[in-house]
Amino acid sequence: MRPFLRSLSPDQQVGLLFALLFGVLLLATMTSVLLSLREHRGADEVPRGRAGGLQDFQALLRSSWLMALVFWIGWAAGDGVATLLFGLLSFLVLREFISLSPTRRGDHRALVLAFFVVLPVQFTLVWTRYFDLFTVFIPVYAFLTIPVLSALGQDPQRFLERNAKLQWGIMVCVYGLSHVPALMLLPFPHFAGRLAFLVFFLVLVVQTCMLVQHLVARRLSDPVVPAISASFHWRSWAAGLFAGSLLGVLLSGLTPFKPLPALAMALVACVAGSLGHLVMKAIKRDRGVTHWGTDGRSVTGAAGLLDRIDALCFAAPVFFHSVRWTFHL
């Protein structure tokens, strides 16, 4: 298997990976369609939990399709387009985040700055490979500019709270997510043209960890922090980390890492992603919603995009910098 893979060109390798991925997704979709047919027949006898499980599965499948398509387009069209796509994704999740965080009139200019200056500049920095500025632009420069604009809005009421929300939104939705396309631009020696694999590695490992954690948690009771998440258990967390790291080792052939470093990097990404997801759950509980999109009482209209990628938003910067320090890039 290995010699065969090595004999392929980088493009052929990536192509093969996409063929595999779409194949798996197609199989999963077909299974879910068949399952849904069966459930319809005896709709009354189907226990509620099972139908809910199928719906969860279908939602997960939809987002997986979307993600795979985004990556495929990004890979086929080159780094520039991939960065642009992630920029758009970042815009949409920041929109979701801000919609559910009450801002006041005085924050208007700060919001304009966040959406139309900070976000595009951050992704332009990624695209133009100004790595040094890219890592400090938001935590250093935007961090000060945003509250200055809010202060000029002359509204002291809940000032710290409003600004904290805005800063958080920018850190998670823009800064965190911008580290995903930045992976494609890491100057690994002897690995040019195949850095899309690194993005793949990160996304697959983190999503697998989340999925396994979710599936295992269903069989457990007594969550660790019931006030925040009904599905976070130490055992399911460990299972998710284990599955993610194992996948990391299996995929190490695609990355510039040897198996052991691959395990370590995957573990780091999974820990950051799953704990980040927990933190986002706490924020959602604070806002009194269960999803970032529309659900029940929530008045806004989007499908909760942020729910699907929040783990990635936290895992990407940690992964990016761990890789950078470890390999002296």
């Binding site: 815009f91 929109r95 979701e96 801000i98 919609s99 529309t294 008045v299 806004t300 209209g301 989007a302």
Partner: protein, 205 residues
């Protein structure tokens, strides 16, 4: 609709959706091609665009918003966009002589069109909408067969507060509620109060 108006309307739709999502939530009635008057809270100039964008394509073409003549015909571009793209009905804000200010609205209703109405008259700043003006009552009295649909526009004032030029992207939605009927010999004040309550009730669904 000529090609320029069509292009503009597509562009505007894309822009509004990217900025706000422009989600329609049909809570008390389905989107249906019957003659209707949609009445909603009014906090921003963008209200008109949002409700227009939230309606499905089939209803958008038969539904006409109301626009203040002095503001929306002040320049050639404003006049073009309200008449060619939105197909708006112009009304006078100031009463001139003994001309009935509702006359253009009645002409549109006679013609079979649906209307989008902001019964507060002007944009409000407060959380709650201002008291409704009597235009809605007069139309309900004269056209009992037209269905009156209350609507609550959520979040738009945050997108573009009064006095700001650049809009901020935030998810907005329009909630359409259960139609309101004018009771037989219901007093004007009671009806307007009830209509306003129907709009405000949609805030929390």
């Amino acid at each position: 609709m000529d090609w320029r108006a069509k292009a503009m309307s597509l562009l505007l739709l894309g822009f509004v959706r990217l900025l706000t999502g422009a989600q329609a939530r049909w809570h008390g009635c389905p989107p249906k091609a019957e003659q209707r008057i949609y009445f909603a809270n009014h906090q921003s100039h963008a209200d008109l665009v949002l409700i227009w964008a939230a309606l499905p394509q089939e209803l958008r073409t038969i539904t006409r918003p109301i626009a203040a003549r002095d503001y929306w015909t002040a320049s050639r571009f404003r006049r073009w966009i309200t008449s060619a793209v939105f197909n708006a009905v112009y009304v006078e804000r100031e009463r001139k002589g003994d001309e009935d200010p509702l006359a253009p609205l009645m002409a549109a209703l006679d013609h079979g069109d649906s209307l989008i109405l902001f019964p507060e008259g002007t944009r409000g700043h407060a959380e709650d909408p201002q008291p409704f003006k009597s235009g809605l009552y007069n139309l309900a009295l004269k056209y009992p067969e037209v269905v009156l649909v209350p609507a609550w526009i959520h979040n738009v004032q945050r997108v573009m507060p009064k006095g700001e030029v650049v809009p901020v992207p935030l998810l907005c939605s329009v909630t359409f509620g259960e139609p309101v009927r004018l009771g037989s010999d219901e007093p004007r004040a009671d009806f307007l109060q009830r209509a306003r309550a129907a709009v405000m009730a949609l805030r929390d669904v």
